[in-house]
């Protein structure tokens, strides 16, 4: 294994700088993806005629193309239609558009399952006050979706690595950069991958713990 500890110490600051960017872009990306995803989910749920079928196609499309392909698509084509964003913003946009579709699907599933339960409970309790239903149903949707949302967060975190190839200066970009400068490729990628693991694993454990608590 071509490993030099001194070299690792040398590149660590650069990698950590990238890590911060990765974390920020993941969180912001997830945030906007959620906002967008809720909008899409609600529109599909209500069923506004033309918009719904368009959004259905959008969701199906996102779920069937690779993220890296979509990222390059955005990077190459958005400037040509006048959308000029600096890399960080572009990265957030791409993450939000791509994962927003997945989140919309997550919410769709939760809405379906919560409604079924609530309809049964409502029948038994003879609840016909829609306001109460709204207060009971909506927060439940979030709780039911939580494990899937956390999985989504982890996927977003991992996929953010591809953004390094569209000039976003996140963790992978720094790894690539250091490797290119020093011609020592192994240590940067090893440390970068390790950092991804060190951050994602606790989150995954948290997600599983939450899933267990609420099953």
């Amino acid at each position: 294994m071509p490993f030099s500890f001194d070299y690792v110490i040398e590149i660590l600051p650069s990698l950590l700088e990238g890590t911060l960017v990765t974390i920020r872009i993941t969180i912001l990306g997830m945030l906007f993806a959620n906002l967008w995803g809720i909008v899409v989910a609600v529109i599909r749920w209500i069923g506004l005629k033309g918009l719904t079928s368009f959004l259905n196609m959008y969701v199906t499309l996102m779920r069937n193309i690779p993220f890296v392909a979509f990222a390059f698509y955005g990077y190459y084509t958005l400037p040509s239609i006048g959308v000029t964003l600096e890399p960080f913003g572009l990265g957030i946009l791409i993450l939000a558009l791509y994962y927003g579709a997945f989140i919309a699907e997550i919410y769709r599933g939760s809405m379906k399952s919560v409604e079924k339960d609530q309809l049964e409970a409502a029948e038994i309790l003879n609840l016909s006050r829609w306001k109460t239903m709204r207060v009971v149903i909506l927060p439940q949707i979030f709780i039911v979706s939580l494990p899937s949302l956390i999985n989504c967060l982890i996927s977003t975190f991992k996929d953010s690595a591809y953004l390094g190839w569209i000039t976003v200066r996140e963790l992978m970009w720094h790894a690539k950069n250091e490797g290119a400068l020093s011609f020592r490729m192994f240590e940067p990628f090893f440390m970068a991958t390790l950092i991804y693991f060190v951050i994602s694993y606790p989150v995954a454990l948290l997600g599983r713990a939450i899933e267990k608590r609420y099953s």
Partner: protein, 220 residues
């Protein structure tokens, strides 16, 4: 876009289509490998020996908790040091196989563990060997459960081959980027490529859903 003739389109496609065959080749190789690796790792995870279980768990957690792109570059740059000289497409396919095998192992495990332990007990009482119970009683009941998951994982793998372009493998996305920069027409080319990925992925995913429904009907 109207000055784009059929001739240009055919020219582009003649450059892109070999990329599809490269994509499918990687999918095929990795697609055959990953279930086998997955069964092996699942066996580790379900073993009675703590050391084997820990190894299996480490394998699954690491491969699922790190980006595929990171694994690809790690494999590509570490293998030469171990004296293994492999080309990028092969390293890529093998890494894809390892990556997907982690998800496969989990799918197998979930399938097997979903079979009630009373099935094992009924088998033991009839003096059936552990191997027989596993192969002829548990597995046939678990297959309908994990088959759709494996199908979906294969499709995920097909889409993941796009990452190989970053290693220089001349598959579809690589050729798309290449062509885009050569012709200065990224918009139509990238749109076509997204469409191509969609056409490879969507019908197959509907097929998997169909299988899932048929199989649910069987175990009712």
């Amino acid at each position: 876009m109207n000055d784009m003739s059929m001739e240009t389109l055919r020219l582009w496609m003649s450059y892109l289509l070999p990329g599809i065959s490269e994509t499918l080749r990687a999918t095929l190789v990795a697609g055959c490998l990953f279930p086998i690796l997955g069964i092996f790792v699942c066996y580790l995870r379900l073993s009675g020996r703590a050391l084997l279980r820990a190894a299996g768990t480490a394998y699954v957690e690491f491969l699922r908790g790190t980006p595929l792109v990171g694994q690809l570059f790690l494999a590509y740059y570490v293998l030469p040091f171990w004296g293994i000289k492999l080309s990028a497409p092969i390293v890529g396919a093998i890494t894809l196989a390892f990556n997907s095998s982690a998800y496969a192992a989990e799918a197998f495990r979930a399938g097997i563990e979903s079979i009630p332990r009373e099935q094992w007990e009924a088998g033991r009482i009839l003096n059936l060997s552990r191997a027989f119970i596993f192969l002829r009683i548990i597995l046939p009941q678990a297959v309908p459960i994990f088959l759709p998951v494996m199908g979906n994982e294969l499709l995920t793998l097909l889409r993941a081959t796009a990452a190989l372009s970053l290693l220089g493998v001349r598959e579809l996305l690589f050729r798309a980027r290449d062509l885009s920069s050569a012709t200065y027409q990224p918009f139509p080319i990238m749109t076509i490529v997204l469409l191509l990925y969609f056409l490879m992925s969507y019908p197959a995913s509907e097929f998997v859903r169909y299988i899932e429904r048929r199989v649910k009907y069987l175990s009712a």
